[in-house]
Amino acid sequence: MRLPIVPLAHLDDLWFQVTGTLCNLACTHCFIRCTPHNRSFGFLDLGTIRRSLDESVPLGVKEYYFTGGEPFLHPDMPAILELTLRYGPATVLTNGTLFNDEILRRLRAAEDASPYSLEIRVSIDGYRRTENDAVRGHGTFDRILCGIRQLVEREFMPIITVTKTDDNQGDADLFDGFVRLMRENGYTRPRVKILPTLRIGAEAERRRGYGTEERVSMEMLEGFDQGTLLCNHARIVSDRGVHVCPILIEASDSRLGATLAEAEQPFALTHQACFTCYQYGTICSNPTSQSHDV
């Protein structure tokens, strides 16, 4: 059988699985089942990150992204972002519950000293307490809002990242609900990004996994703009090596090499999560960085 293979057009986005699979929360829709006890992937140390950043320069990487787990469980996270902002723009995906004055003071200073943006994406999954807490855990709604207010006080404009955990809810309703909630919390110019769920990991048990027909075929790639697929322009560094994308790190074939250069090889879209990326387009990237064929 011929496989739908996607080459790496160019390494635009370099991701870091900075805290492995360790998270202070245990969301029921997490596609890699991160929890306070999941140490199957470990932390990246500053030296490893520095080596990858150095390797990324001659490759012409455009932007850097940090995810976990929860990145701010890493004691060196401010130093990691300070370093990265000397190389290029940085985005960090967080649940927003672990900020303190010292962290935020350093992040503000790091962005101010850099020509590049520091984007902070805060995940929250319902504009009502009950909806969010059902997915992210009891009491998290209030803690996340507190984190957002702390960010706003420090003049950050976080991208409020919402996973659509209820298929029956319209995007416009979600969007309006979050804009209202943010304004009530002093975030007057909210930025909101709505994402689909990935039906793997914990989410496969919370609702359902993928149906047998939900996969990418060779025919589906014909005439398709592969630039909308993350594997076409990104790779992610974990403590095990370099993988194809942040969604698939647990898959055995996702590790493509020990270095960025080794991981430039193409990838076959045999995983069903690839179907979601195919359907919705580069869901992991920031709105400022999306483009497609004209």
């Binding site: 160019h10 990487v61 455009k62 290029g88 520091l118 995007d171 969007f175 709105p287 400022t288 004209v294």
Partner: protein, 262 residues
Amino acid sequence: MSECRKIAVFGGVYNNHLALTAALEDARRRGADTAFCLGDMGAFGPHPDRTISILREHDVQCIQGNYDNSIGNELPDCQCGYTDPRDNHFARISYAYTLANTSLTNREWLRQLPAQRRVRLGKYRVFMCHGSPRRTNEFLWESTTSTHFLEHLCRNYDADVILATHTGIKWHRPLADGRQFVNVGVLGRPENDGRTNVWYALLSAESDFQVEFVPVAYDHERLAAQMRSENLPGEFVATILSGWWTTCLEVLPAKERRRGRY
């Protein structure tokens, strides 16, 4: 490849025919030998055919932006790729108006524009594009584009200087080995700084490469009046009169967004 001494380069006219006329006059006064437009003639402002007539009459060397590709090929939308419902609402109004008011002859003219141009400016090989050399609608913002990415583009496209527009905000970054990247800004709307002027870039390379961003004051109140009489949204008119962007904000990165009012 044509050779130039001093060039005026702008993008994103967005139907702002009054600013276009003012910029061309200013560039001529300052001794530019050729004017280049990096695309996105339509959107936002009034009377699209007026802008295209001026560009053709003055023999401005144009390339095709995503908007021009859409209007020229009568596509369903402008290919800006918004997901924010509010941004999409205003993008649809602007696109429907521009398409309906662009003549068939001008649609054909937009359709045949090249996606890129190469010229020689002194000793520099200049590559002109709309968004980026590889994608017409790629945003190259100052705060989200690493220097080594731009150097990679120069290497890949055999260019000493890359000129682009598309974002709506000008910037310049010198690169290694004397190479340069310039986002030339746009003439169509002010750049979200509370001032009503717009910008173009004047480039020369008699010895070293030089770029000057030139502010263009024009009769923005007259443009606003024309926009109102064409029933264009009050939000667009407010931008022309205030200098603050009111729409299409979703694509702004943190640093650029923070500088604005909305």
